[in-house]
Amino acid sequence: MSATRHEPRARGRLAALLAPPLLWLVLAYLGSLAVLLLSAFWTTDPFTSDVVHTWTTDNFRDILTTPVYRTVALRTLGIAVAVTLLDALLALPMAFFMARVAAGRLRRALLVAVLTPLWAGYLVKAYAWRVMLGEHGIINAALAPLGLHGPGYGTAAVVLVLAYLWLPYMILPVHAALERLPAHQLEASADLGAGTVRTLRSVVAPAVRPALLAGSVFTFSLSLGDYLTVQIVGGRTQLLGNVIASQVTLDLPLAAALSAVPVALVVCYLAAVRRAGALDSL
């Protein structure tokens, strides 16, 4: 491609292409994050809740030494991992069927069916689950004849509802990867004597892995920061997002310092999956 040559004109074109998005992201986004991080080193007047601009690392020390924050951080991490695993488990057979078994009209219809709920709205879906999980909801009504009781509101409900909300974000990249897998590779594998299991392990798995990681970026980081679903179906469960949200008006510096926890987790996660090539297939 001519563009790979470093002629002055190509460089000028590159600069013109890159300048607007980079300016926006650096100014509007990284700038904001920098302001937030900076305010984590400030403190609050305990009587007026006003931010006082005196440099201190007390907020970070508080977070590291207060056991409640550690418990909440670990619980949040655990829920994000559980949601991601649950979604991967649900998405794999569905995406495989959609991409490799179903054909023609059914294939397109299935894709539309998976995409449509993305439009139904986060709050609407979370609220639908609140109604379903309620004491007189359909889940308890369905389980009653079996002598069982639904999970009610709590941690289990949070995992369930978050997995439900983010499922399409996992299905779509996995489906795209499976669909792009050339049929002749699968045939070659069979011709060379590989059974289904061997083909799945040696041909399908390497193609799906980056897509699974790409999907997990969504399921993992969206779960890590969620606080509305927790408010809606979580009962008394507290996640990092809730703690941050409840501190924003009371103690912004503390909220800012707390935000560093999910930011650090997500950046580490992104760095890890980027090495596996996941961001290219996002």
């Binding site: 190509a10 302001v35 397109r108 894709l111 779509l172 669909e179 996002l282």
Partner: protein, 270 residues
């Protein structure tokens, strides 16, 4: 790979079960919008059309819908420009920091909404407020556009990877100037990706609650914010439910359009 008949049936059943699980809550929302019991007790004892007529006459809901549409269109327009430019830069050029650019674009959607929200809130207060720019539709558009860029970027980059470079080369060999190649060769090939990207970016903006909460200020209510405020009021719950049902019913149209316009899976790329 030869899947046995049993394997195909098992996969089909799992998919059907998954879809049933996906649609069960949505169907319940539709059903509850005509459930005469305002607390949605199950099973419904009687049906009513009252919630629908109340929702259609709610001025608050109509204003919120209008605000959401404007915010979504604004954010989508910004994201289309910035996302496409970035996709061209990353796809057509090899440069130092190329990986960092993709990383930077993904970051706003990968970081938790609450972090993005309070960061933008803090920045707007320290930077924009002294300039006399208050919180409102403008700040909402800025916030939404920031995390919508990645959607357009991914769709356009995926499509650019698939357009054979020989097409542009042929166009140049035939004497077309770069602008003509862009207009007559590259742009038509990109159109479905741009459309799909715009659609998904709009959907994302339309559904965003957390970032909106922290960037909207008191006077600006998008539809999700309106819904959130009214969820807590028991006697408004059925009206919210009607809006939800309406959105679910209407959502089929854009998804179907996206599918028609891009026959490949680009319509589903996030």
């Amino acid at each position: 790979m030869h899947l046995t008949r049993t394997a195909r049936i098992v996969l089909g059943c799992l998919t059907a079960a998954g879809l049933a699980l996906i649609y069960l809550p949505l169907l319940l929302v539709l059903l509850n919008s005509v459930n005469a019991d305002p607390s949605f007790a199950w099973p419904p004892r009687a049906l009513t059309g009252e919630w629908w007529s109340r929702a259609l006459h709610s001025a608050g809901a109509r204003d919120a819908l209008w605000t959401s549409l404007r915010a979504g269109l604004g954010a989508t327009a910004v994201a289309l420009v910035l996302g496409s430019l970035a996709a061209f830069a990353v796809h057509r050029h090899r440069f130092f920091g190329r990986q960092t650019v993709s990383f930077l674009i993904v970051l706003p959607i990968a970081l938790p909404g609450i972090v993005t929200g309070i960061a933008l809130n803090a920045a707007f207060r320290t930077v924009l407020a002294p300039l006399g720019i208050g919180f409102g539709l403008f700040t909402v558009v800025v916030g939404h556009a920031t995390f919508c860029v990645v959607i357009v970027f991914n769709n356009v980059a995926a499509r650019l990877r698939r357009i054979a470079p020989s097409l542009a080369e042929a166009s140049a060999d035939l004497g077309a100037r770069p602008w003509q190649t862009l207009r007559y060769v590259t742009f038509p090939a990109l159109r479905p990706a741009l459309f799909a990207g715009a659609l998904l970016a709009f959907a994302l903006s339309f559904d965003e609650v957390v970032v909106t909460t922290f960037t909207a200020g008191a006077g600006t209510k998008t539809l999700p914010i309106w819904i959130y405020e009214n969820l807590a009021r028991p006697h408004q719950a059925p009206v919210v439910d009607v809006l939800a049902a309406l959105l679910i019913a209407l959502s089929v149209i854009p998804v179907y359009a996206a599918q028609r316009l891009s026959s490949d899976t680009a319509g589903g790329r996030l």
